[in-house]
Every structure is written in C-alpha cells, then in structure tokens.
Amino acid sequence: DDSKLEQLKSQGFARVAIANEPPYTAVAADGKVSGAAPDVAREIFKRLGVADIVASISEYGAMIPGLQAGRFDVVTAGLFMKPERCAAVAYSEPVLCDAEAMLVKKGNPKGFKSYEDVAKDTSATIGAPGGGTEEKLALNAGVPRERVIVVPDGQSGLKMVQDGRIDAYSLPVLSINDLMKKANDPNLEVIAPVQGAPVYCDGAAFKKGDEALRDAFDVELAKMKKSGEFAKIIEPYGFSAAAAMSTTRDKLCAAK
C-alpha cells in the first residue's frame, strides 16, 4: 500500500539518516545537507512528490536501530548492502559503490595490504566506524576485538592515525580520499583498494514493511539512471555511476 508515501507527501518532507562522512554525506558551512547519497534521495523524493528531506546525523551503528524505532524514514548514508543488513532493512537498488581503503602513516610502515595483514601483526590496531562494514571486515579477517578500535567519526580516525594511536584507519576509498584532501598531511598515505575486500554498494535503506515506498523509490531511481541524471549527481563527488548500474540489489544481498 502507498500509505507511507502519502503520509510523507502530506507532511512535505522525509526524515533521512545521514552520517557525517564526506563525500557520501556532508554538511555545508551554512548547515545545508549535501553529499552524494542525500542529493540522490532529495531528487527522487522530489519526483515522488515529497518536497524536501530533513536529515539527522547519526552514528552508523545507530542507523538501523533508529530506522526500526521509527526515528527516520530512510537511511541515505553509504550504508553498504550486506546479507545481514538486507535481512534487517528494505534496500533500494544500488546507489553508491566504492571499494575499501586504509589510511596509514607515510610509507606504510607495517606493510598492510589487506585486513588479514592487520590480523597477522599482533601489535597492530585498526580503527573503523562502530557497526560499519569495515569493522566487520576486520573482525571477519581475524583481527581480535580488542585490536579493532571503534572510532566515532572520520576526523577522529584521521587524528588517531596522525597521533599514532592506531596503525590504520579504514573507510571506503572516497571517504578516505576526502579526509586526506582536507588534512593535506604529507605524512599520511592511502592504501586503496584493500586487497580481498569486495566492492560494496549502498542503497537507500527503508524500514521493513515500507516496501511499497521502496519500490516507488526504485522506479524513479531506475529512470534517473537511464536518463543520465543519476551520473550527473554522483560523479562530481567521485562516485562511478557505471559501477552502481552494473550490479543489483539481489546480487549484493545474496553475496556470502
């Protein structure tokens, strides 16, 4: 049924959860929400007749519980599709795709190429957002819990690498590149992509039960992908439209 969409239309806005992680999501100096994911969502909702989006910044770990608790209508934050998440929320078709990267000190002193390398070096620590994809990748690669440091946001991760508190900080490639650009620190280096880590794509995540809204979203998304407007929005941020169009939700959710 379309009741959810009708409700959003009549209230005139949709509540979206975003992270504070450029270029996926960003907040401008005037407080305006931008970034690739919200921009796409804003456009699609406009086409669906919902005038605007209202964003609240959240930690990655709090997004799905927040969605379930009805705090947001949709998550547009670079929350990558993975089977467990597909079970917890209703994803749209892929929007933003990216590989994983690590931020390390200049010269990569510990010689990391993959998460397994971090696991092997018993003194190495790696930072990742709590509840994020990178945290799980590291844990799955065998890095013990106490060496995976939960870092609240990108700037903190960057700072902790600079200060030598952690040996590597892992985020998607474009996020790390954005951090690097802002920090402009010659003593840092980016390893991208991390070997063995798959390319992930995010989608707009809806609450289970809001599939009708999700389907409407998908229809508009497909139209935009076809017309090239989709590429126009995300490519300035560095994302590849082709990558998103070369895969589907069903494939990503089925991946092991």
């Binding site: 930690e59 509840g131 902790m160 508190r165």
Partner: protein, 219 residues
Amino acid sequence: MDWDWNFVWQIMPTLIQGVKITILATLLGSVLAAIVGLGIALARRSPNKALSRTVGWAAEFIRGTPLLVQLYFIFYVLPDIGILLPPLVAGVIGLGLHYGTYTAEVYRAGIENVPRGQWEAAKACNLSARQTWTHIIIPQAIPPMIPALANYFIAMFKETPLLSAITVLELMNQAKSVANTYYRYLEPITLVGAFFLAISLCSVVLLRWLERRYGKIER
C-alpha cells in the same frame, strides 16, 4: 520488539568485559580526584594570591564545562602539543580533573565546618600551626567529608559511559558495539541501565552506612 533472553546470555560476556573497564576507570578516577581536590583546596587557601586566584578560576572553568567536551579536548587536541595519552589514561585524567574540582569543595567545606572555637582552643593550648592541622583540624574535618566524597565517586561512576566517546571500551561502548552488530538496542541498553541501578542501590546502602558511621561528630 520483544525481549530475548537468549540474546541476553549471548552478549553477557562482552558486557562483563565492559564492566571491568568501567570499574577500573572509576577507581583510578576516584584516587586522582581525591588527590587533585586536595591540591586545589590547599592552593585556594594559599596566601599567594596569584596562585589561589589562578587555581580558583581554572577549577571554576573545569566545573562549568561538560566532561564530554573536556574528554574530546584531552584526547584529540592535546596530541597537537605533544601530549599523547592512551584512551583509558585520558579518560581517567578527565574524570579525575573534573571531579577533583568537586572534591575540592568538599575539602573546603569540611575544613570550614570545624568550628572556629577549635582553632582558638588550639591556639590557647599554644599548639603550632602544623600541630593544629594534624591533631585538631584534620581529624575532625575528614570523617564528615567521607559520605560527600563517596557521593561524588558514585556520581563519577555513572559518568563513565562518556568515556565511550574517546574509544574506551567500557560498558556503554561494549553495549553500543553489541547493538551495532545485532541491530538491537533493547537488551544491551536495558542491561546497562539495570547494571547501573544495581550498583547505585548498593551504594545507597553503603552511603547510609558511611553517613551513620562518619557523618556526624558529637560535640
């Protein structure tokens, strides 16, 4: 969403890891706060005006601003001037400094609550300043302070979740990480709440006992 006991048992070991860190941080923070507070209290009584004023304002500042922001500051800004502290140490220093400004007030009140007549009697007995402090004032000032100090240490205990913001894996952080992994907030947060409530209720009993034992000095 319903309460899931299996989930509770599954996450319990992780949470207990967090409890250990929480208790450790509280204990270390209390010791530091007790010492810092004494330092502040003495500095504020100092005849050196510059010292007492500076310490006074610094303490006011620390007491008037949020611990959370102070923790960010200690953890993320101090490294810029070359002070790099491990998360737990940074957290303990934050707690100790912040609560030190409170314990300083307890010390001050404790000392001021010793009646003026006691100072005067000590003088009439011709005791020296040092003897007056060690034999007359401190022994009378300390016991009434104990409940108030304990009170602040319990309050500090309840603020340790803030350390999760600087990556200390204490109870709250473990709970959040569990919640992040399984997308369930109900059980972890409720358990954390129950844990704090349990400790607090025990500490109420402890406090009442301390108050009975030390709270009043009979004159």
